[in-house]
Protein backbone atom coordinates (compact mmCIF):
# COMPACT_ATOMS: atom_id res chain seq x y z
CA UNK A 1 0.00 0.00 0.00
CA UNK A 2 2.79 2.38 1.02
CA UNK A 3 4.62 1.45 -2.18
CA UNK A 4 1.57 2.33 -4.28
CA UNK A 5 1.21 5.71 -2.57
CA UNK A 6 4.90 6.43 -3.07
CA UNK A 7 4.63 5.52 -6.78
CA UNK A 8 1.59 7.79 -7.20
CA UNK A 9 3.34 10.65 -5.40
CA UNK A 10 6.37 10.25 -7.64
CA UNK A 11 4.17 10.23 -10.75
CA UNK A 12 2.38 13.39 -9.62
CA UNK A 13 5.66 15.12 -8.85
CA UNK A 14 6.96 14.23 -12.32
CA UNK A 15 3.69 15.35 -13.92
CA UNK A 16 3.71 18.72 -12.12
CA UNK A 17 7.29 19.21 -13.24
CA UNK A 18 6.24 18.64 -16.85
CA UNK A 19 3.30 21.02 -16.44
CA UNK A 20 5.57 23.70 -15.02
CA UNK A 21 7.96 23.30 -17.90
CA UNK A 22 5.07 23.69 -20.43
CA UNK A 23 3.22 26.53 -18.66
CA UNK A 24 1.71 29.26 -20.79
CA UNK A 25 4.12 32.15 -21.23
CA UNK A 26 3.82 35.51 -22.92
CA UNK A 27 6.46 35.91 -25.63
CA UNK A 28 8.44 39.11 -25.31
CA UNK A 29 10.24 39.27 -28.63
CA UNK A 30 10.23 42.45 -30.72
CA UNK A 31 6.84 43.31 -32.29
CA UNK A 32 8.53 45.18 -35.16
CA UNK A 33 7.30 44.36 -38.66
CA UNK A 34 4.28 44.36 -40.89
CA UNK A 35 1.52 41.95 -39.95
CA UNK A 36 -1.57 40.60 -41.62
CA UNK A 37 -4.44 40.18 -39.16
CA UNK A 38 -5.32 36.52 -38.56
CA UNK A 39 -9.16 36.44 -38.67
CA UNK A 40 -9.34 33.18 -36.72
CA UNK A 41 -7.57 34.73 -33.71
CA UNK A 42 -9.05 38.20 -33.89
CA UNK A 43 -12.44 39.57 -32.88
CA UNK A 44 -14.35 42.74 -32.10
CA UNK A 45 -16.49 42.55 -28.99
CA UNK A 46 -18.90 45.08 -27.59
CA UNK A 47 -21.01 45.59 -24.50
CA UNK A 48 -24.20 47.60 -24.55
CA UNK A 49 -26.54 48.55 -21.70
CA UNK A 50 -29.96 46.85 -21.90
CA UNK A 51 -32.98 48.54 -20.30
CA UNK A 52 -30.79 49.93 -17.52
CA UNK A 53 -30.38 46.52 -15.92
CA UNK A 54 -27.54 44.72 -17.67
CA UNK A 55 -24.53 45.06 -19.96
CA UNK A 56 -25.08 42.71 -22.84
CA UNK A 57 -22.21 41.47 -25.05
CA UNK A 58 -22.04 40.99 -28.78
CA UNK A 59 -19.24 40.34 -31.21
CA UNK A 60 -18.10 40.57 -34.80
CA UNK A 61 -16.37 37.38 -35.83
CA UNK A 62 -14.71 38.38 -39.11
CA UNK A 63 -11.87 40.85 -38.70
CA UNK A 64 -9.33 41.49 -41.43
CA UNK A 65 -6.62 44.06 -42.09
CA UNK A 66 -3.00 44.73 -41.26
CA UNK A 67 -0.71 46.59 -38.89
CA UNK A 68 2.84 47.82 -39.06
CA UNK A 69 4.98 48.29 -35.98
CA UNK A 70 8.24 50.21 -35.77
CA UNK A 71 9.45 49.50 -32.25
CA UNK A 72 11.83 52.47 -32.31
CA UNK A 73 9.41 55.00 -33.82
CA UNK A 74 5.85 54.17 -32.80
CA UNK A 75 4.57 57.38 -34.38
CA UNK A 76 5.08 55.62 -37.72
CA UNK A 77 2.96 52.62 -36.68
CA UNK A 78 -0.11 51.95 -38.80
CA UNK A 79 -3.27 49.93 -38.22
CA UNK A 80 -6.00 49.18 -40.70
CA UNK A 81 -8.99 47.02 -39.74
CA UNK A 82 -12.06 46.00 -41.73
CA UNK A 83 -15.07 44.24 -40.20
CA UNK A 84 -18.07 42.92 -42.19
CA UNK A 85 -21.14 43.97 -40.22
CA UNK A 86 -23.00 40.75 -41.04
CA UNK A 87 -20.42 38.80 -39.02
CA UNK A 88 -22.27 40.05 -35.91
CA UNK A 89 -23.38 37.46 -33.38
CA UNK A 90 -25.24 38.03 -30.11
CA UNK A 91 -26.19 34.39 -29.51
CA UNK A 92 -29.82 34.83 -30.70
CA UNK A 93 -30.90 34.93 -34.36
CA UNK A 94 -33.89 37.24 -33.91
CA UNK A 95 -31.78 39.82 -32.08
CA UNK A 96 -29.03 39.52 -34.70
CA UNK A 97 -31.64 40.28 -37.39
CA UNK A 98 -32.90 43.31 -35.45
CA UNK A 99 -29.40 44.64 -34.95
CA UNK A 100 -28.44 44.12 -38.60
CA UNK A 101 -31.58 45.91 -39.84
CA UNK A 102 -32.35 49.63 -40.26
CA UNK A 103 -32.97 50.10 -36.52
CA UNK A 104 -29.27 49.81 -35.73
CA UNK A 105 -26.33 48.77 -37.94
CA UNK A 106 -28.30 48.73 -41.22
CA UNK A 107 -25.94 46.14 -42.71
CA UNK A 108 -27.41 46.21 -46.22
CA UNK A 109 -26.71 49.93 -46.54
CA UNK A 110 -23.46 49.90 -44.58
CA UNK A 111 -21.93 46.44 -44.98
CA UNK A 112 -18.54 47.19 -43.41
CA UNK A 113 -17.02 48.94 -40.41
CA UNK A 114 -13.44 50.18 -40.85
CA UNK A 115 -10.75 51.67 -38.66
CA UNK A 116 -7.68 53.44 -40.00
CA UNK A 117 -5.11 54.69 -37.53
CA UNK A 118 -3.74 58.21 -37.52
CA UNK A 119 -1.35 57.86 -34.58
CA UNK A 120 0.10 55.54 -31.96
CA UNK A 121 1.61 56.77 -28.69
CA UNK A 122 3.26 54.24 -26.38
CA UNK A 123 3.85 55.26 -22.76
CA UNK A 124 5.97 52.15 -22.17
CA UNK A 125 6.90 49.00 -24.09
CA UNK A 126 3.44 47.47 -23.79
CA UNK A 127 0.87 50.20 -23.21
CA UNK A 128 -0.23 53.27 -25.05
CA UNK A 129 -3.00 54.80 -27.11
CA UNK A 130 -4.17 54.22 -30.66
CA UNK A 131 -5.98 57.06 -32.43
CA UNK A 132 -7.72 56.83 -35.77
CA UNK A 133 -10.88 57.19 -37.80
CA UNK A 134 -13.70 54.75 -37.24
CA UNK A 135 -16.28 54.46 -40.02
CA UNK A 136 -19.50 52.92 -38.80
CA UNK A 137 -23.04 53.24 -40.16
CA UNK A 138 -21.80 55.55 -42.92
CA UNK A 139 -20.30 58.05 -40.47
CA UNK A 140 -16.57 58.58 -39.92
CA UNK A 141 -15.37 59.92 -36.57
CA UNK A 142 -12.06 60.03 -34.69
CA UNK A 143 -11.74 57.46 -31.91
CA UNK A 144 -8.97 56.80 -29.38
CA UNK A 145 -8.37 53.30 -28.03
CA UNK A 146 -6.30 52.36 -25.02
CA UNK A 147 -3.76 49.92 -26.41
CA UNK A 148 -2.01 46.99 -24.82
CA UNK A 149 0.62 44.92 -26.59
CA UNK A 150 0.13 41.33 -25.42
CA UNK A 151 3.20 39.65 -26.89
CA UNK A 152 5.22 38.79 -29.96
CA UNK A 153 7.27 35.80 -31.02
CA UNK A 154 7.58 32.73 -33.22
CA UNK A 155 4.72 30.28 -33.73
CA UNK A 156 5.18 26.49 -34.04
CA UNK A 157 4.70 26.63 -37.84
CA UNK A 158 7.70 28.79 -38.64
CA UNK A 159 5.80 32.08 -38.62
CA UNK A 160 6.03 35.07 -36.33
CA UNK A 161 3.06 36.60 -34.54
CA UNK A 162 2.16 39.62 -32.48
CA UNK A 163 -1.06 40.56 -30.72
CA UNK A 164 -2.82 43.57 -29.21
CA UNK A 165 -5.91 44.41 -27.21
CA UNK A 166 -7.50 47.82 -27.87
CA UNK A 167 -10.42 49.21 -25.85
CA UNK A 168 -12.59 52.27 -26.18
CA UNK A 169 -16.07 53.60 -25.48
CA UNK A 170 -18.12 55.14 -28.28
CA UNK A 171 -21.52 56.79 -28.43
CA UNK A 172 -23.71 55.20 -31.09
CA UNK A 173 -25.60 58.46 -31.57
CA UNK A 174 -22.32 59.99 -32.82
CA UNK A 175 -22.60 57.52 -35.70
CA UNK A 176 -26.26 58.28 -36.47
CA UNK A 177 -27.61 55.23 -34.62
CA UNK A 178 -30.30 56.99 -32.63
CA UNK A 179 -33.05 54.42 -32.33
CA UNK A 180 -34.36 53.37 -28.92
CA UNK A 181 -31.84 55.33 -26.89
CA UNK A 182 -34.14 55.00 -23.86
CA UNK A 183 -33.93 51.20 -23.88
CA UNK A 184 -30.50 50.46 -25.27
CA UNK A 185 -27.59 52.55 -24.02
CA UNK A 186 -25.96 55.22 -26.13
CA UNK A 187 -22.48 54.37 -24.84
CA UNK A 188 -20.98 51.14 -26.09
CA UNK A 189 -17.77 49.59 -24.82
CA UNK A 190 -15.72 48.19 -27.68
CA UNK A 191 -12.78 45.81 -27.48
CA UNK A 192 -10.65 44.80 -30.41
CA UNK A 193 -8.46 41.73 -29.98
CA UNK A 194 -6.09 41.26 -32.88
CA UNK A 195 -3.39 38.77 -33.66
CA UNK A 196 -1.24 39.30 -36.74
CA UNK A 197 1.12 37.10 -38.69
CA UNK A 198 4.29 38.87 -39.79
CA UNK A 199 4.63 39.17 -43.58
Amino acid sequence: MNKAIATLAAALALQSGIVLADAYQVQNSSPAGTYKIDPTHSMVQFWVGHMGVSEFPGRFDAVSGSFTVDAAHHEADKVSVKVPIDSLDTNFDKRNKDLLGPDFFNAKQFPTMTFTSTGVKMKNANEGTLTGNLTLHGVTRPVTFSLRHVGAGPDPWGGYRSGYVAKTTIRRSDFGMNYMLNGISDTIEVQLNIEGKRQ
Binding site: K97, D98, P102, D103, H137, V139, N178, Y179
Partner: protein
Protein backbone atom coordinates in the same frame (compact mmCIF):
# COMPACT_ATOMS: atom_id res chain seq x y z
CA UNK B 1 -40.48 51.91 -22.57
CA UNK B 2 -43.76 50.70 -24.18
CA UNK B 3 -45.53 53.83 -22.91
CA UNK B 4 -42.80 55.97 -24.42
CA UNK B 5 -43.19 54.11 -27.75
CA UNK B 6 -46.97 54.66 -27.64
CA UNK B 7 -46.45 58.38 -27.01
CA UNK B 8 -43.98 58.68 -29.92
CA UNK B 9 -46.08 56.58 -32.29
CA UNK B 10 -49.67 57.52 -31.50
CA UNK B 11 -50.16 60.37 -29.04
CA UNK B 12 -47.89 63.18 -30.28
CA UNK B 13 -48.29 62.54 -34.04
CA UNK B 14 -52.09 62.35 -33.87
CA UNK B 15 -52.17 65.41 -31.57
CA UNK B 16 -50.08 67.37 -34.10
CA UNK B 17 -52.30 66.23 -36.98
CA UNK B 18 -55.48 67.11 -35.05
CA UNK B 19 -54.08 70.56 -34.22
CA UNK B 20 -53.42 71.18 -37.92
CA UNK B 21 -56.90 69.88 -38.82
CA UNK B 22 -58.43 72.31 -36.31
CA UNK B 23 -56.68 75.14 -38.12
CA UNK B 24 -58.15 73.86 -41.39
CA UNK B 25 -61.58 73.80 -39.77
CA UNK B 26 -61.31 77.54 -39.21
CA UNK B 27 -60.49 78.24 -42.87
CA UNK B 28 -63.37 79.68 -44.81
CA UNK B 29 -61.93 79.11 -48.30
CA UNK B 30 -62.85 75.49 -49.14
CA UNK B 31 -60.07 75.31 -51.77
CA UNK B 32 -57.43 75.21 -49.02
CA UNK B 33 -59.07 72.47 -46.95
CA UNK B 34 -57.46 69.53 -48.80
CA UNK B 35 -54.10 71.28 -48.53
CA UNK B 36 -54.48 71.75 -44.77
CA UNK B 37 -55.53 68.11 -44.57
CA UNK B 38 -52.34 67.11 -46.41
CA UNK B 39 -50.32 69.41 -44.16
CA UNK B 40 -51.86 67.75 -41.09
CA UNK B 41 -50.88 64.31 -42.42
CA UNK B 42 -47.32 65.42 -43.20
CA UNK B 43 -46.88 67.37 -39.96
CA UNK B 44 -48.25 64.52 -37.83
CA UNK B 45 -45.90 62.05 -39.52
CA UNK B 46 -42.89 64.35 -39.18
CA UNK B 47 -43.53 64.75 -35.44
CA UNK B 48 -43.44 60.95 -35.09
CA UNK B 49 -40.44 60.68 -37.44
CA UNK B 50 -38.52 63.22 -35.35
CA UNK B 51 -39.29 61.46 -32.06
CA UNK B 52 -38.57 57.96 -33.38
CA UNK B 53 -35.78 58.39 -35.92
CA UNK B 54 -34.66 61.99 -35.45
CA UNK B 55 -32.07 62.15 -38.20
CA UNK B 56 -32.41 65.07 -40.62
CA UNK B 57 -28.94 64.95 -42.21
CA UNK B 58 -28.94 66.09 -45.83
CA UNK B 59 -28.03 64.30 -47.97
CA UNK B 60 -29.42 61.51 -45.81
CA UNK B 61 -27.12 58.75 -44.60
CA UNK B 62 -29.89 56.13 -44.78
CA UNK B 63 -32.83 55.37 -47.06
CA UNK B 64 -35.40 56.42 -44.43
CA UNK B 65 -33.64 59.79 -44.24
CA UNK B 66 -35.17 60.67 -47.62
CA UNK B 67 -38.72 60.64 -46.20
CA UNK B 68 -38.94 64.36 -45.21
CA UNK B 69 -37.61 65.51 -48.60
CA UNK B 70 -39.93 63.15 -50.49
CA UNK B 71 -42.90 64.35 -48.43
CA UNK B 72 -42.04 68.01 -49.04
CA UNK B 73 -41.71 67.58 -52.82
CA UNK B 74 -44.92 65.55 -53.13
CA UNK B 75 -46.80 67.96 -50.89
CA UNK B 76 -45.72 71.01 -52.90
CA UNK B 77 -46.40 69.48 -56.32
CA UNK B 78 -49.84 68.12 -55.47
CA UNK B 79 -50.92 71.15 -53.40
CA UNK B 80 -50.55 73.04 -56.64
CA UNK B 81 -52.69 70.32 -58.24
CA UNK B 82 -55.39 70.80 -55.57
CA UNK B 83 -55.38 74.56 -56.16
CA UNK B 84 -54.92 74.80 -59.93
CA UNK B 85 -56.16 71.40 -61.06
CA UNK B 86 -53.78 69.45 -63.29
CA UNK B 87 -55.14 67.57 -66.26
CA UNK B 88 -55.46 63.82 -65.67
CA UNK B 89 -52.57 63.10 -68.06
CA UNK B 90 -50.20 65.50 -66.28
CA UNK B 91 -51.21 64.16 -62.88
CA UNK B 92 -50.55 60.55 -63.92
CA UNK B 93 -47.23 61.52 -65.51
CA UNK B 94 -46.15 63.28 -62.30
CA UNK B 95 -47.30 60.36 -60.14
CA UNK B 96 -45.29 58.00 -62.38
CA UNK B 97 -42.17 60.18 -62.30
CA UNK B 98 -42.32 60.64 -58.52
CA UNK B 99 -42.95 56.91 -57.95
CA UNK B 100 -39.84 56.04 -59.97
CA UNK B 101 -37.65 58.75 -58.40
CA UNK B 102 -38.86 57.88 -54.88
CA UNK B 103 -38.10 54.18 -55.42
CA UNK B 104 -34.69 55.03 -56.90
CA UNK B 105 -33.73 57.24 -53.93
CA UNK B 106 -34.70 54.56 -51.44
CA UNK B 107 -32.83 51.87 -53.35
CA UNK B 108 -29.82 54.17 -53.93
CA UNK B 109 -27.51 52.41 -51.41
CA UNK B 110 -27.97 49.15 -53.38
CA UNK B 111 -26.64 50.84 -56.54
CA UNK B 112 -23.10 50.60 -55.03
CA UNK B 113 -23.12 46.84 -55.60
CA UNK B 114 -24.99 46.78 -58.93
CA UNK B 115 -28.09 48.12 -60.62
CA UNK B 116 -31.15 46.59 -58.91
CA UNK B 117 -33.24 46.83 -62.09
CA UNK B 118 -35.87 44.28 -61.15
CA UNK B 119 -36.35 45.67 -57.64
CA UNK B 120 -36.56 49.22 -58.99
CA UNK B 121 -39.11 48.28 -61.64
CA UNK B 122 -41.28 46.28 -59.22
CA UNK B 123 -41.11 48.97 -56.52
CA UNK B 124 -41.94 51.81 -58.93
CA UNK B 125 -44.84 49.86 -60.41
CA UNK B 126 -46.35 48.95 -57.02
CA UNK B 127 -45.85 52.51 -55.70
CA UNK B 128 -47.52 53.96 -58.81
CA UNK B 129 -50.34 51.40 -58.69
CA UNK B 130 -51.01 52.10 -55.02
CA UNK B 131 -51.14 55.82 -55.73
CA UNK B 132 -53.45 55.56 -58.75
CA UNK B 133 -55.91 53.33 -56.92
CA UNK B 134 -55.96 55.35 -53.70
CA UNK B 135 -55.97 58.85 -55.23
CA UNK B 136 -59.30 60.46 -54.36
CA UNK B 137 -60.60 57.36 -52.54
CA UNK B 138 -59.20 57.90 -49.10
CA UNK B 139 -61.24 56.23 -46.44
CA UNK B 140 -60.88 53.29 -44.10
CA UNK B 141 -58.93 51.27 -46.69
CA UNK B 142 -55.86 53.53 -46.51
CA UNK B 143 -56.05 53.50 -42.72
CA UNK B 144 -56.38 49.70 -42.55
CA UNK B 145 -53.49 49.09 -44.96
CA UNK B 146 -51.31 51.55 -42.99
CA UNK B 147 -52.20 49.83 -39.70
CA UNK B 148 -51.55 46.40 -41.24
CA UNK B 149 -48.20 47.57 -42.56
CA UNK B 150 -47.24 48.80 -39.08
CA UNK B 151 -47.99 45.35 -37.62
CA UNK B 152 -46.26 43.41 -40.42
CA UNK B 153 -43.17 45.65 -40.32
CA UNK B 154 -42.81 45.61 -36.54
CA UNK B 155 -43.23 41.85 -36.23
CA UNK B 156 -41.30 40.55 -39.24
CA UNK B 157 -38.95 43.38 -40.26
CA UNK B 158 -37.93 46.32 -38.12
CA UNK B 159 -39.42 47.73 -34.93
CA UNK B 160 -38.53 51.26 -36.04
CA UNK B 161 -40.25 50.87 -39.42
CA UNK B 162 -43.23 49.38 -37.60
CA UNK B 163 -43.35 52.42 -35.34
CA UNK B 164 -43.12 54.80 -38.32
CA UNK B 165 -45.92 52.80 -39.99
CA UNK B 166 -47.87 53.15 -36.75
CA UNK B 167 -47.41 56.92 -36.93
CA UNK B 168 -49.06 56.99 -40.37
CA UNK B 169 -51.90 54.78 -39.12
CA UNK B 170 -52.35 57.02 -36.06
CA UNK B 171 -52.48 60.17 -38.21
CA UNK B 172 -55.00 58.61 -40.62
CA UNK B 173 -56.98 57.34 -37.62
CA UNK B 174 -57.00 60.93 -36.36
CA UNK B 175 -58.42 62.03 -39.72
CA UNK B 176 -61.18 59.40 -39.49
CA UNK B 177 -62.04 60.46 -35.94
CA UNK B 178 -62.01 64.15 -36.87
CA UNK B 179 -64.30 63.61 -39.84
CA UNK B 180 -66.67 61.21 -38.06
CA UNK B 181 -69.49 60.33 -38.89
CA UNK B 182 -68.23 60.82 -42.48
CA UNK B 183 -65.94 57.90 -43.26
CA UNK B 184 -64.23 59.70 -46.12
CA UNK B 185 -60.96 61.49 -45.36
CA UNK B 186 -60.74 64.67 -47.47
CA UNK B 187 -57.04 64.30 -48.22
CA UNK B 188 -57.20 65.66 -51.76
CA UNK B 189 -54.40 64.93 -54.23
CA UNK B 190 -51.74 66.43 -51.94
CA UNK B 191 -52.83 64.42 -48.89
CA UNK B 192 -52.97 61.20 -50.90
CA UNK B 193 -49.51 61.97 -52.29
CA UNK B 194 -48.15 62.44 -48.75
CA UNK B 195 -49.85 59.33 -47.31
CA UNK B 196 -48.95 57.08 -50.26
CA UNK B 197 -45.34 58.32 -50.24
CA UNK B 198 -45.00 57.41 -46.56
CA UNK B 199 -46.71 54.02 -46.97
CA UNK B 200 -44.86 52.99 -50.14
CA UNK B 201 -41.49 54.22 -48.81
CA UNK B 202 -41.83 52.32 -45.54
CA UNK B 203 -42.89 49.13 -47.33
CA UNK B 204 -39.98 49.42 -49.77
CA UNK B 205 -37.42 50.15 -47.03
CA UNK B 206 -38.75 47.16 -45.11
CA UNK B 207 -38.27 44.82 -48.05
CA UNK B 208 -34.96 46.22 -49.26
CA UNK B 209 -33.20 46.55 -45.90
CA UNK B 210 -35.12 44.83 -43.11
CA UNK B 211 -36.23 41.53 -44.70
CA UNK B 212 -39.90 42.22 -43.94
CA UNK B 213 -41.98 39.14 -44.77
CA UNK B 214 -43.21 39.24 -48.38
CA UNK B 215 -46.47 37.26 -48.20
CA UNK B 216 -48.14 39.44 -45.53
CA UNK B 217 -47.08 42.57 -47.43
CA UNK B 218 -48.58 41.26 -50.67
CA UNK B 219 -51.78 40.45 -48.75
CA UNK B 220 -51.88 44.07 -47.56
CA UNK B 221 -51.69 45.25 -51.17
CA UNK B 222 -54.63 42.93 -51.97
CA UNK B 223 -56.73 45.11 -49.64
CA UNK B 224 -56.23 48.23 -51.77
CA UNK B 225 -58.75 47.37 -54.57
CA UNK B 226 -61.47 47.07 -51.90
CA UNK B 227 -62.19 50.74 -52.63
CA UNK B 228 -63.25 49.90 -56.21
CA UNK B 229 -65.41 46.99 -55.11
CA UNK B 230 -67.00 49.00 -52.31
CA UNK B 231 -67.99 51.74 -54.70
CA UNK B 232 -69.49 49.23 -57.13
CA UNK B 233 -71.38 47.23 -54.49
CA UNK B 234 -72.44 50.25 -52.40
CA UNK B 235 -74.60 51.63 -55.23
CA UNK B 236 -73.88 55.28 -54.39
CA UNK B 237 -74.96 54.98 -50.77
CA UNK B 238 -71.89 56.53 -49.10
CA UNK B 239 -72.12 54.89 -45.71
CA UNK B 240 -72.84 51.43 -47.15
CA UNK B 241 -70.02 51.94 -49.65
CA UNK B 242 -67.51 52.71 -46.90
CA UNK B 243 -68.76 49.84 -44.74
CA UNK B 244 -68.24 47.40 -47.61
CA UNK B 245 -64.81 48.92 -48.39
CA UNK B 246 -63.73 48.57 -44.77
CA UNK B 247 -65.06 45.02 -44.43
CA UNK B 248 -63.44 43.86 -47.69
CA UNK B 249 -60.11 45.48 -46.82
CA UNK B 250 -60.15 44.11 -43.29
CA UNK B 251 -60.06 40.48 -44.48
CA UNK B 252 -56.60 40.52 -46.15
CA UNK B 253 -55.25 42.97 -43.54
CA UNK B 254 -56.37 40.69 -40.68
CA UNK B 255 -54.89 37.60 -42.39
CA UNK B 256 -51.59 39.42 -43.09
CA UNK B 257 -51.40 40.65 -39.49
CA UNK B 258 -52.18 37.18 -38.12
CA UNK B 259 -49.44 35.57 -40.24
CA UNK B 260 -46.92 38.21 -39.15
CA UNK B 261 -47.82 38.01 -35.44
CA UNK B 262 -47.71 34.20 -35.51
CA UNK B 263 -44.26 34.30 -37.09
CA UNK B 264 -43.11 36.79 -34.43
CA UNK B 265 -44.44 34.72 -31.55
CA UNK B 266 -42.58 31.68 -32.87
CA UNK B 267 -39.35 33.59 -32.17
CA UNK B 268 -40.24 34.98 -28.78
CA UNK B 269 -37.64 37.07 -26.98
Amino acid sequence: MLLSMARETILWPSAAALAAMMLGFLLRDARFKPIVSALATGAGFLVGYTLIYGNFAFPPIEAQGWLPALLAVNFLVFSFDDLAGFSRKIRIALQGALSISGSALILLPLFKTGFPALQLAAASLLWFGLWIVLDGRNGPVLFLVAAGNAIVSATTGSTMLGQLGGVLAAVLGGHLAFNFPKSHIPLGHAGTAVAVTILASLMLIGHAYAETALIPSLLLLCAVPADFLGKHLGRNRKNLEMLICGALALIPVAIASAIAIRSYLAQEY
